[in-house]
Symmetry: C2
Subunit: 157 residues, 2 copies
DNA sequence: GATGAAAACTTTATAAG
DNA sequence: CTTATAAAGTTTTCATC
């Protein structure tokens, strides 16, 4: 069931840690940083990519400058809980610009959604113009993020 | 109060969109993709970096292969709600490997925390060995992510 | 594993239409 | 804005210790 993964060593971890912070490091800089020869470092990095440990390299944008300074966490319960209704709602959420993450969850609510907006005014607009236009919502509850204490795109290795 | 940002045009947006998907594009590939000359594309990209629209470039790792296949969303209320207690708890959370995101939030709970673990067994271990060792928790509630419908690190421009 | 080296490509800067 | 050019640096492959 679970794919057999090779054990990672400290050098693999150091490479991933460095590239998680800065994907634009040249191989020479990376090798220096992790204390390997350039060839060894190059081979390891390619291996980590090929084996799928490194899924890709992406640019991170500044939410604030783009007019999405605020994060709201939104719990949603739907009227119906059949497979189809749940999947449809998720697919609709996924099309919305403001939606950064959407999870079908266990517990009192059906969905947990992370939304980026510009203040309470932006959130009101998001609810009115986008979320409440999707059919099938029974109840929702919003939590404004007052302060972000940590936010990393993937786990620290 | 809000810094005056220049208006982004379609070319800026196309560059950011492309680099959000693949930060390893060469300038020549990027220029081709967004339909600009290489010089124009190069100048725009540097400008977007210098102005801070592009915050950086990072590697995304495969959570599953690293043994953190499951996402749990965790709401926490603390015993005390003074500034100091809230900040301390957030700082402690931020040190934990499993914690990907942690927000101080408005509403019934104090914190909303996104955790990456390996199954219910991994979550139990996280609670016992890490979360419950932090003092001051009054109440917590967990939602296991059953399905991820969307997950992007920054807003689509 | 390490080191060296060569070819192809990229980055960065600058000049000119 | 474009096209063109050029030096310096990087990627990628490959041979050898």
């Amino acid at each position: 069931m679970s794919p057999k993964n090779r054990a990672l060593d400290n050098q693999d971890r150091r490479i991933m840690r460095a590239l998680q912070k800065n994907a634009r490091l040249s191989n020479a800089e990376l090798a220096e940083l992790v204390g390997m020869s350039t060839t060894a470092c190059w081979n390891r990095t390619r291996q980590l990519e090929n084996e799928g440990y490194i899924r890709g390299y992406v640019a991170l944008l500044d939410q604030q400058k783009l007019g999405f300074a605020d994060i709201v966490l939104l719990e949603v319960t739907l009227d119906r809980h059949d497979d189809d209704a749940l999947a449809r709602f998720g697919a609709e959420l996924a099309t919305l610009t403001e939606v950064l993450e959407a999870y079908l969850v266990s517990g009192d609510y059906d969905y947990l959604v992370k939304v980026a907006v510009d203040g309470t005014a932006g959130y009101e607009r998001f609810l009115r113009e986008k979320l409440y236009k999707i059919a099938g919502i029974r109840h929702s509850r919003s939590m404004f993020a007052l302060r972000c204490m940590k936010s990393i795109p993937s786990v620290q290795v």
